[in-house]
């Protein structure tokens, strides 16, 4: 049967199980949109390609499955770049399909021509410039296989317009791609892991987002309980272990739990699971866990020994490895180590004040945690509000905290919330944002209003780029420059202008009740909260310093 390239792409996406995709049409991808018109796929029209990319990310991060976004050539593709780079750094499975000028025009500076292949090369797991319509039969499934195999990541498929339009006879469709199976871990390595754990006196699990991606959170908890091993998490790993689990130490690192950074320095064995020794987590790497042996389990062999040499590097599927390790691990209460840690660790050792002050972001975030259902998905933008969310919010389940960790992209929160809401229409989604970040993708309020999604946006407005202001205060002689907003828009009015209901807590007689009420109702809603403008997130490890050099670590617990 005859198909053109665009129809082949859509058919291959359907065979891949895709039901919904996100994008914006333009000159160079119109054949794909014509094919979409005739298909059963649901298309969500974003208002900026970066929005489309982050909507896809919201879906991928909240489901663990590959999501698809689309853009046209030139500015469409360049607008996608930030979302693609973000997916690369946080290992999010995503396929971006971009239109390109017709192949004969490539290299001529044609209208809306940009070297998408060259631009996306360093920010993707892999990228393709399709040379021939027939290649699509191989490239599209291959893109899905790459995106979801091993360590997930984004794949770009750039398709010239003439290749989308050219027809060919398709005799047989390729099988839908699946994740490539991972090699089984050698039994002797599992035994050696068990020996190292049994010999250790002060072991700690140090986990990253890959534990969630690999669906290994359950077996990790069983293992931790059996041998009484405390667990600390990076920003990306939050949700793998419930916030109130007695073995959970909270987040480590720059804005982590102060006691946890001390505990890490005392550990004699770090069992690092799907982490990459990121500088925000480790502080000065030479001084990170100096006395500890390290077992490093990762699916990506290049992460092992990249920044910190492992005593035992284990490459493979963390779920399979922990599952096989579990029966080899002895029950142990580790009373001495527990006692040591208890001496250090107050029951809720978060850096945020426990105050009920409705003008303190941490209080508002705690109240959100009190008011919304346990399975609520939280997205954030980037800055102080993100760290205040990571510290006290009561996360209980994997994939309920979506945040831009590696790239740290302001503007992530709203579109990611839209993607999560489309994937989980029956769940509550709350986007916690700041007045700086929110402006970076607020055009997606239109997408939100159009789709009537169950999303509450909470803007914690401190009138600043707060984390920048904090660094200027602490490290640049309090030279507050270009981080204070001289004017602030009326966020509630903006939301209403897009057709989204808005509540301004400053106008409410009882702000706490107004917050509860706004969170309880279904549908889109923006909640504006004016908060103190001069607060700092503590503790804070100065960039480049050891994790033990925390500012505010003890005074602010």
């Amino acid at each position: 049967m005859e198909f053109n390239g665009a129809q082949m792409i859509i058919h291959l996406l359907e065979r891949q199980g895709i039901k919904i995709l996100f994008g914006i049409p333009g000159g160079a991808n119109l054949p794909i949109y014509e094919a979409l018109y005739h298909s059963n796929l649901r298309h969500i029209l974003a208002r900026h390609e970066q929005g489309a990319g982050f909507i896809a990310q919201g879906m991928a991060r909240s489901t663990g499955r590959v999501a698809v976004c689309m853009a046209t050539s030139g500015p469409g593709a360049t607008n996608l770049l930030t979302a693609i780079a973000d997916a690369k750094l946080d290992s999010v499975p995503m396929v971006a399909i971009t239109g390109q000028v017709p192949a004969p025009l490539i290299g001529t500076d044609a209208f809306q021509e940009v070297d998408t292949y060259g631009l996306t090369l360093p920010i993707t797991k892999h990228n393709f410039l399709v040379q021939d319509t027939e290649e699509l039969l191989e490239v599209i499934p291959e893109a899905f296989r790459i995106a979801q195999s091993g360590r997930p990541g984004p794949v770009v498929v750039d398709v010239p317009k003439d290749i989308q339009a050219r027809t060919m006879d398709v005799q047989r469709w390729p099988d839908p791609a699946q994740a490539a199976p991972l090699p089984e871990c050698d039994g002797s390595i599992i035994s050696r892991m068990a020996d190292m754990i049994h010999q250790a006196e002060r072991p700690v699990f140090y986990i990253g987002g890959g534990v969630i991606a690999a669906d290994a959170a359950e077996v990790l908890k069983q293992l931790a309980r059996k041998n009484t091993i405390p667990v600390t998490s990076t920003l990306m790993g939050l949700g793998a272990v419930a916030h109130d689990d007695p073995l959970f130490l909270g987040m480590l690192g720059m804005h982590g739990n102060a006691q946890t950074n001390v505990i890490m320095a005392r550990a004699d064995l770090i069992i690092a699971l799907r982490i990459r020794f990121d500088d925000r987590a480790t502080g000065k790497i030479e001084e990170f866990c100096p006395g500890a042996a390290i077992i490093h389990v990762d699916v990506d062999p290049s992460e092992i020994d990249k920044l910190k040499n492992a005593t035992l590097g284990v490459c493979g599927d963390v779920k399979e490895i922990l599952t096989r390790l579990l029966p080899e691990i002895k029950n142990d209460e580790r009373k001495a180590w527990q006692g040591d840690m208890a001496a250090l660790k107050p029951s809720r050792a978060f850096a945020c004040p426990e105050s009920k002050d409705m003008n303190h972001p941490a209080s508002i975030i705690r109240f959100i945690g009190d008011f919304v259902p346990e399975d609520t998905i939280i997205t954030t933008d980037v800055g102080q509000h993100q760290m205040w969310t990571a510290q006290p919010y009561p996360f209980r389940h994997p994939m309920t905290f979506l945040t831009s960790g590696g790239l740290g992209t302001m503007g992530f929160g709203l579109p990611a919330a839209i993607g999560a809401a489309l994937a989980h229409p029956d769940q509550k989604i709350v986007c916690i944002s700041g007045d700086g970040s929110f402006l970076m993708n607020l055009q997606e309020l239109a997408t939100l209003a159009e789709n009537r999604l169950n999303i509450a946006i909470v803007i914690l407005n401190n009138g600043h780029l707060g984390l920048v202001r904090q660094q200027q205060e602490l490290f640049y002689d309090n030279h507050i420059f270009a981080s204070r907003f001289d004017t602030s828009p009326d966020f509630a009015a903006i939301a209403r202008g897009f057709g989204v209901m808005a509540v301004d807590l400053a106008q409410a007689n009882d702000p706490k009740r107004a917050l509860a009420k706004a969170l309880a109702q279904p549908g889109p809603c923006l909640i504006h909260a004016k908060v103190h403008s001069q607060l700092n997130v503590y503790p804070m490890v100065p960039p480049g310093a050891s994790n033990l050099e925390m500012i505010g670590g003890n005074n602010h617990v």
């Binding site: 090369l121 360093p122 797991k125 892999h126 410039l129 790459i146 062999p301 290049s302 020994d305 990249k306």
Partner: protein
């Protein structure tokens, strides 16, 4: 001391050289020489990279092995200069 040669077998298409050189520049790996030519029926190429041997060599190899278009990676230390005269400027 530039004493290590990495030999790659790669898929032969217009973007593969960018993938290799891009990896070296963005990860700040040294790369002193490079040569590439098609082998067999032309669907694959052989690429020869001259690098210096340091503690990052292991990471270099692992990152190369991750590239989709790289099919095989091997190291040749103290290479026979007769086989690689181009690398040494026809010494």
């Amino acid at each position: 001391m530039y004493d290590t040669i990495i030999e790659l077998r790669v898929r032969n298409h217009p973007g593969v050289m960018s993938h290799i050189t891009g990896l070296f520049s963005r990860r700040a790996f040294n790369l002193e020489g490079i040569i590439c030519g098609p082998v067999g029926d032309g669907t694959q190429s052989r690429m020869i990279l001259l690098v210096n041997k340091n503690h990052r060599l292991d990471q270099m190899i692992k990152q190369l092995e991750k590239l989709y278009d790289v099919l095989a990676v091997s190291i040749r230390e103290d290479p026979d200069r007769v086989h690689y005269p181009w690398v040494y400027g026809q010494g």
